[in-house]
């Protein structure tokens, strides 16, 4: 047997009915904000993790990024059963996992069970526990998914990524499983998480026919380097172009800016367990000491009064375009040092030689920021430090790695290390902020950075969750906005639009709101 035939047999045996694209084609390289921390969709902690999911996996149902129609690549038929509290799904028979095994109803039900299993310590799974009660396999290609109650438009609740049962030993899916770095999906590309980059190989399947053979995800570098590399065709895309560099991209015929619909807002979390930050007057004073207009100009390059700015101040935990944003709460665009001084004095802080003291000791603010944000808002950390320093606070500034942020900051373990943490949250259609502000207990408050706890806030979050009407839900969040703007567990900064840049020789670059890569099958590059 010739070497060629041996090679063909090996490949055929390995892929069983689905094929990797020829690797001699062009590789589409792009800069992400950072490397993903996991390729397991249940443990996606960052937007990078979240975007990558869309390449490797399929959601059971998704909204078409063009027409917004609810669609599924996995389901051929559905019907409501059990008086509307369950849905029977008939699955496609011809879909393979990327390791060649057949996709079956078992996998759908396994994913539901995994999310319901307390051993799956995933905040995403936690959210689904109030949606599903279980799942039953009815033959190889039919599953009945049962809901906790009758939902309007129940298919909208089925937007989870389907996992392969055969990769796991039981129903619990732990975060440190090998699957997190070497996943198996049914999506348009297989991926392996490396230490320097992530390579994806396009996979032909009956429901995906990507034309791009390989994608290479690179960790973002200095923004200028990113843009120059893009210009020189060293990479073909940048997921998030910092605002100061957008003009350069838009004036080039070789590159185009693409809108990425995402609701992102920036904040400074304040640790209220610190004695000198416990009194909300101190937090209010620090809020008033910040001159957001200057910060925005110095770090993002937005001039005062600039029209159509990509960066808009906020006064609460929503973007201004959101229905939950309370427009009655004013933003703080400029500093108000006189008011701040009065508040600090009322709170018992004393000015000794131009430095603020609490209980006779000088205050040193330890300020941290997720390092990757430095690309989007260069020098923001030092500019905030400078403003607080000029106001009389000693300070130390630190940049946190992606890992530190995801495993320690978000999990509420950095109170001893930091007083203020600068971060950013992103949302899609759902702007549920309960995980950020609810007291951390019983799975709630899973992203409460400094373990903020306020019974009144918890009550409003509960009102939102249990609201019977849209008005009740909206009313609860409007009140929450108002209360948080007063209590300031976060000092709210701004929303910042996200724009991608792609070289114009990459065609069909439709970017799905929030999910990004949903349309990758239609992207074309080279060949």
């Amino acid at each position: 047997m010739s070497k060629t035939r041996n090679w063909k047999r090996l490949i055929t045996g390995a892929l069983v009915g689905l094929s990797a694209l020829a690797t001699c084609g062009s590789t589409l390289s792009f800069y992400e904000e950072s490397l993903p921390t996991t390729l397991n969709p249940l443990y996606a902690a960052s937007m990078v993790d979240h975007r990558v999911n869309e390449l490797v996996f399929d959601r059971l149902y998704y909204h078409d990024p063009i027409t917004n129609e609810l669609a599924s690549r996995l389901v051929t038929q559905w019907e409501l059963v059990e008086q509307g509290k369950a849905v029977r799904l008939t699955l496609r028979k011809d879909i393979k996992w990327q390791d060649g095994k057949n996709f079956r109803a078992d996998d759908v039900c396994f994913t539901v069970r995994a999310m319901l299993d307390p051993g799956t310590t995933s905040p995403i799974a936690e959210g689904y526990r109030s949606v599903f009660t279980g799942c039953e396999v009815e033959g190889k290609d039919q599953a009945i998914v049962r809901f906790t109650k009758i939902f309007h438009n129940p298919l909208n609740r089925l937007g989870f990524y389907v996992l392969p049962q055969h990769r796991f030993d039981g129903d619990a899916v732990p975060p440190d499983h090998d699957f997190s770095s070497h996943p198996t999906g049914t999506g348009p590309a297989s991926g392996n998480l490396g230490s320097k980059q992530v390579n994806f190989q396009g996979i032909q399947n009956s429901h995906h026919q990507p034309s791009i053979a390989q994608l290479s995800l690179l960790e973002a570098q200095d923004p200028l380097v990113q843009v120059k590399t893009l210009l020189n065709n060293g990479v073909q895309g940048i997921i998030a172009v910092p605002p100061p560099y957008r003009a350069e991209v838009s004036t080039s015929d070789d590159m185009s800016l693409k809108g990425y619909d995402l609701r992102s807002w920036w904040f400074i979390a304040a640790d209220q367990t610190k004695p000198f930050l416990k009194d909300k007057k101190v937090r209010q004073a620090i809020n008033l000491l910040l001159d957001r207009t200057d910060l925005r100009q110095l770090s993002i390059g937005v001039k005062p009064g600039e029209q159509n700015s990509p960066c808009e101040f906020i006064s609460g935990p929503f973007v201004q375009a959101s229905p939950y944003y309370n427009h009655d709460v004013p933003v703080s665009a400029r500093s108000d040092k006189d008011r701040a001084l009065a508040l600090l004095t009322e709170a018992g802080l004393t000015d000794v030689g131009g430095r603020w003291h609490y209980n006779g000791a000088p205050i040193t603010l330890r300020i941290g920021m997720k390092a990757a944000l430095d690309n989007e808002a260069p020098d923001l950390l030092s500019q905030i430090g400078n403003q607080l320093g000029q106001a009389g606070f000693d300070r130390q500034t630190y940049k946190l790695s992606e890992d530190e942020w995801n495993t320690q900051a978000i999990t509420g373990q950095l109170s001893e290390n930091y007083d203020l943490l600068i971060g950013k949250w992103s949302f899609g259609l759902v702007e549920d902020v309960n995980a950020l502000f609810h007291t951390r207990r019983d799975g709630r408050g899973s992203k409460n950075i400094f373990n903020y706890s306020n019974p009144q806030v918890d009550a409003l979050l509960a009102q939102y969750e249990s609201a019977k009407t849209d008005t009740q839900a909206r009313d609860a969040y409007h009140k929450l906005h108002s209360m948080l703007a007063e209590d300031l567990p976060y000092l709210f900064l701004w929303k910042l639009d996200t724009k991608s840049a792609w070289r114009t020789d990459v065609r069909g670059t439709t970017i799905a709101p929030y999910y990004y890569w949903t349309e990758i099958d239609n992207w074309k590059y080279g060949g």
Binding site: S46, S264, Y324, P513
Partner: protein, 445 residues
């Protein structure tokens, strides 16, 4: 206006244009290689060629009306043009009112689609106010479904909501007539606006217009009545027609609601086209009617993409080539490349994409129409940003329940004109409903 002021304003327009294109940047002022996508004689008819000479652009910029229009400050532009009786100023004044009317039409469509998608029978929820039946009637009327509108009016006579029974009765009367669109302006029982006066911008009754009690709990839905937005659209139509009927008809023709009587476009000049997406009057007519007319660049450019379903990439490439051809022709006509040429020529690129999108939707090809539209949104930044188009996309997004992008595009335009915030109230109601229907999600970053 003194000569010094004239120069200053002219410079402001030129500077404003330059500021968005890179202006004096040598690279930006390099004309691209000519690409002949349309015959040169046709290209010569584009408004871009009329302003290729920097002196010609400065001359237009001498009018503060055009400076304001460049910034899409339509009320200021209208006020500026109203101060001059010259026919060209009248024409420009009509254009400004027609464009304000177009903006209000898109806002009314956002409201209509949002109301339907929130409260139509299959989306109704326990607790929804009974009076949404009135809002549904207005929504159907705006979308041109007279029969559905008539079915919804006349059911709220017993409502205790202040002003609503009167509005319902007024609409019941209007809906019985054939030409209710124009009559909505003066109908008694509806909202008052000042007498039509070209150059003015009326401020409507602010939203919310009704507090509708929910049938569960004790909260009320603070609702905006799209009638007010429709009235504003009709007010500006009347103002535009009073200033220059031919320009009013031409500029409004692509934007008329299906419930409106058609306009009869006449001859129009540069005032109807300058800084806009349609390069010639023939293109404007082509966009409005969908039928090719002599002199239309779009028709010629799209002939490169034959077939019942033009190829997306072919259309996009044709649009880009049209812009390049115009930019090269402007350099030739203007005595050399100039920093403004790129962004002015890019208007035609966007115009062609928008036109092709409209055609695709009209042909029932929603996917192609949407892809072209989304591509045009990506190109709509800075000098090429067109609020009317952005609100149009928001209206379409509302119709398909894509509230994320709709809200973003509407939010960016909300302060353009008084009363546009009413559209946000309707869209917000839909956004809350859609988001509460979605599966769980956690904040990320």
């Amino acid at each position: 206006m003194t000569r010094a002021m004239t120069l200053l304003v002219g410079a402001a327009l030129t500077a404003a244009l330059s500021g968005c294109t890179g202006g004096d940047d040598a690279d930006a002022a390099t004309a691209p290689a000519a690409v002949a996508i349309v015959p040169a004689a046709l290209a010569a008819g584009a408004w871009q060629l009329d302003v290729a000479d920097p002196a010609a652009l400065s001359a237009l910029g001498a009018n503060p009306g055009w400076t304001a229009r460049f910034a899409w400050d339509l009320p200021a532009a209208a006020a500026a043009f109203a101060g001059d009786d010259a026919p060209s100023s009248k024409a420009a004044l009509a254009r400004m009112h027609a464009e304000m009317g177009a903006l209000y039409r898109q806002a009314a469509l956002i409201q209509a689609h949002s109301i339907l998608e929130t409260y139509k029978p299959e989306q109704r929820r326990d607790g929804d106010p009974v009076e949404v039946v009135y809002l549904l009637g207005v929504a159907h009327a705006i979308l041109g479904d007279r029969e559905a509108a008539r079915e919804h009016f006349g059911q709220s006579a017993g409502s205790g909501v202040a002003g609503l029974p009167e509005a319902d009765a007024a609409w019941a009367g209007l809906a019985a007539s054939d030409d209710f669109a124009l009559n909505v302006l003066g109908a008694s029982g509806l909202y008052g606006l000042p007498a039509v006066a070209p150059g003015q911008t009326p401020t409507p009754k602010p939203a919310p217009h009704f507090s509708l009690p929910e049938t569960v709990g004790e909260l009320t839905v603070e609702a905006a009545d799209p009638t007010v937005t429709l009235q504003l659209a009709m007010w500006h139509r009347a103002a535009a027609e009073a200033a220059d009927p031919a320009v009013a008809a031409a500029v409004l023709s692509p934007w008329l609601l299906s419930l409106e009587p058609p306009a009869a476009p006449g001859e129009v000049g540069l005032e109807a086209l300058f800084l806009g997406p349609w390069p010639t009057a023939a293109d404007l007519a082509f966009v409005a009617t969908g039928e090719a007319s002599e002199g239309a660049l779009f028709d010629a450019a799209l002939s490169a993409c034959p077939g019942e379903r033009p190829d997306l990439y072919c259309v996009q490439e044709s649009a880009q080539n049209l812009a390049r051809q115009l930019q090269a022709a402007m350099a030739e006509a203007g005595g050399g490349a100039h920093g403004d040429h790129r962004s002015l020529a890019a208007q035609a690129q966007l115009g062609l994409l928008r036109h092709a999108s409209r055609r695709a939707f009209a042909d029932g090809d929603r996917e192609l129409g949407a892809r072209l539209m989304i591509g045009a949104i990506d190109l709509s930044a800075g000098a090429t940003g067109d609020p009317i188009f952005l609100l149009k996309t928001a209206a379409w997004d509302a119709s398909v329940r894509n509230t994320l992008r709709a809200q973003q595009n509407l939010h960016g335009q909300i302060n353009r004109l008084p009363g546009l915030d009413a559209a946000r109230r309707s869209l917000d109601a839909l956004a809350v409903r859609v988001s509460r229907d979605a599966g769980p999600a956690v904040p990320l970053h």
